[in-house]
């Protein structure tokens, strides 16, 4: 267990019933950035949900990850409008600059690259997001400038 108290404080907000599974996993994902094995086992025991069900849930929904993510999450929108307005070229540019494929973390552990269905800011397509910040009407030449803001 990485931090028993942290998990305890998450679990204490729920009733301990099987239907609490997804919200509990969401909080663990938000806190740790992924679903650590030991925590998952403890959740299974406490909510009386079989481990297999937890892993089927964790692999079905896109927000869950079983491996740690990078320090910064880069999400490129590939919704319809962003697709039409050059989203795929942003993905190419990011892949080559970060040296990763979509779904992976850069070697230095700084950035994880993901694509999403639509961020809801379609009027400013193409849109990308780093952590909680949106970037509007991104063109390929803006990519290095955006990444620089996060390179420590």
């Amino acid at each position: 267990m990485m931090d028993a108290a942290r998990l305890e404080s998450i679990l204490s907000r729920y009733e301990g019933e099987p239907y609490d599974l997804i919200p509990v996993l969401q909080e663990i994902q938000d806190t740790y950035g992924y679903l650590p094995k030991d925590e998952v086992k403890e959740v299974a025991r406490r909510l009386k949900v079989p481990l297999t069900q937890i892993y089927s849930v964790a692999t079905f929904y896109k927000m869950f990850s079983l491996i740690p993510k990078g320090k910064h999450q880069v999400k490129v929108c590939l919704g319809t409008t962003c697709h039409l307005k050059g989203g795929p070229r942003l993905v190419d540019s990011l892949c080559s600059r970060l040296g990763v494929e979509v779904g992976y973390t850069s070697k230095d552990g700084q950035f994880s690259l993901e694509t999403v269905g639509c961020l809801g800011s379609c009027a400013q397509a193409p849109v990308m997001m780093v952590d909680d910040k949106y970037y509007a009407r991104v063109t390929v030449d803006k990519v290095p400038k955006i990444l620089k803001l996060y390179q420590s």
């Binding site: 099987p18 239907y19 609490d20 599974l21 997804i22 919200p23 996993l25 969401q26 949900v49 069900q53 089927s56 849930v57 079905f60 929904y61 896109k62 927000m63 869950f64 590939l78 919704g79 319809t80 409008t81 962003c82 697709h83 039409l84 050059g86 070229r89 190419d92 540019s93 892949c95 080559s96 999403v116 269905g117 639509c118 961020l119 809801g120 800011s121 379609c122 009027a123 400013q124 397509a125 849109v127 909680d132 949106y134 970037y135 509007a136 063109t139 390929v140 030449d141």
Partner: protein, 617 residues
Amino acid sequence: MPKFESLDHLNEYRRQLRAKRDPKQPQVLVCAGPGCLPLGSEEVAQAFRAQMEEKGLNGKVALKTSGCHGLCARGVRVLIRPQEIAYQKVTPADVPEIVETTLVGGGVVERLLHEEPETHARCQHKGDIPFYRGQQSIVLRKLDVIDPESLDDYLALGGYRSLRKVFFEMTPDDVIDAVERSGLRGRGGGGFPTGRKWRICRDTEEPIKFVICNGDEGDPGAFMDRAVMEGDPHAVIEGMIIGAYAIGARRGYIYVRHEYPLAVKRLTLAIQQAREAGFLGKNILRSGFDFDLQISQGSGAFVCGEETALIASIEGHIGEPMPRPPYPAISGLFGQPTIINNVETWANVPEIINMGPEWFAGIGTEGSKGTKVFSLVGAIHHSGLVEVPMGTTLREIVFNLGGGIPGGRAFKAVQTGGPSGGCIPAEFLDLPVDYDSLQQVGSIMGSGGLIVMDETSCMVDVARYFIGFLYEESCGKCTPCREGLKQLKKIYEDITQGRGEEGHIALMEDLCAAMASASICGLGQSAVNPVLSTLKFFRHEYEAHIRDKKCPALVCRPLLKYTIDPETCTGCLACVRECPVGAISGVKKEAQEIDQELCIKCGLCFEVCQFDAVRRE
């Protein structure tokens, strides 16, 4: 905020609130909706705060951050009330001038006014802008008026007024009657009559029932539900209270996707405010009716917008749809009768009660009543949110409200209904938009995404995109959807990579027929719409890809060729720096050349060249 123990108490509070508020008090509303936020709404609001402080305007001028003002393409938008001056593209640097000229001096900053694309005419007032003139708003009415985090703002505009009528003058059956007579149909896609669904649920004998708001909004290119949840969360809650009373539910859930953190935050706050004010909880306004609400967050699965999958997800399972019947209205959440409606559907309900079903039924067409909110995006001047009476024509929406197509390009198609919808060509621009007429041309209303495409879009690529999206999102439970999408995806890849064959089109049509009739849920059943509608209206483009190995719109990568024009190339090397495979070479300040063997046709060089020296054909 007091806890309202009775109606008189609420009315008295509302009266005081109105008396305290001076309608002539200047107000600055900074849009912080989904379109303006990424352009810097917070920085603009901050600049206003600082400037107003400096000029001693605090207390005299009210500053609010609000929901979407509609015309997102020209954000950050700032509206000055009561004059209704609409400023566009405001940056923090513009704020001192607005404060000085408008708030202090009473004048107008001309350069920040809306400008019409073709005529360059400036419009000073919101109501002068053609984009707004053609609209009629019910659901979006309050978005550029209230601060979504203020219950007082909502109450001052008559919020929670409908509860009086519902609890004290109407029986649950009366409420259902009213919703039926209004003609309201579900805004989440299928267009099922809302009142009829409620009646089916009410007529079940079960004592425990639920209401759910579907705020999943998975359709790429649609953001109206997000805008309503973020901009007017109490309207959704008020609608759900009415629905719960009508069917006899004591608990409700709002299911919001986790990609919308601000919607989650605003709804959480609004639920808490409503509970403190006594609109949720036990014995609401001493009516004897108990009802409470909670939020359930999605975890990133498009199929969870489907109602049976959504229910499974709230119950803690993976989001696999179930065959229907039984419909959720009979057996839904935890096996109990459950009403699921879309965000916009719920938000219409309080107005139907307040204004009366006849008023609502007086708007729209024979089969589709009321208004519809669309997110209008793509190749169009005025991207944003519009709300128009059902039956407004596509031409009106695209050209009069949307201001037409930029860059002097030609209109090619409008895609409606997201991945379950279809592409509608120019010949149907005069089609009145309602549930039935869209279906007649092979598309659907869907949730209301309208994506405008010009000649730079390839319709084969658009269909390929939707099939790829649905292939990724299919839950895989039933074979026709799982295998059908896989085969369709493979055929699209073949066609767009130059391996198209004569029999492909017929094969696609066969696959579509099987999927439409045998898939369990709407995802598989309607996945055929983007395929069949593009095949019907844009078959020549498929043929160009298959027979001539050409993409007429210059989109499908493997069919393109990039070269550099030696006459125009300045040798700036911008493209050389960008090319991921090192395919471009030459001497600095001289013309560059692309090695066709190495080029992967990513188009990055084309995008970065400032001198139009890269040719694509």
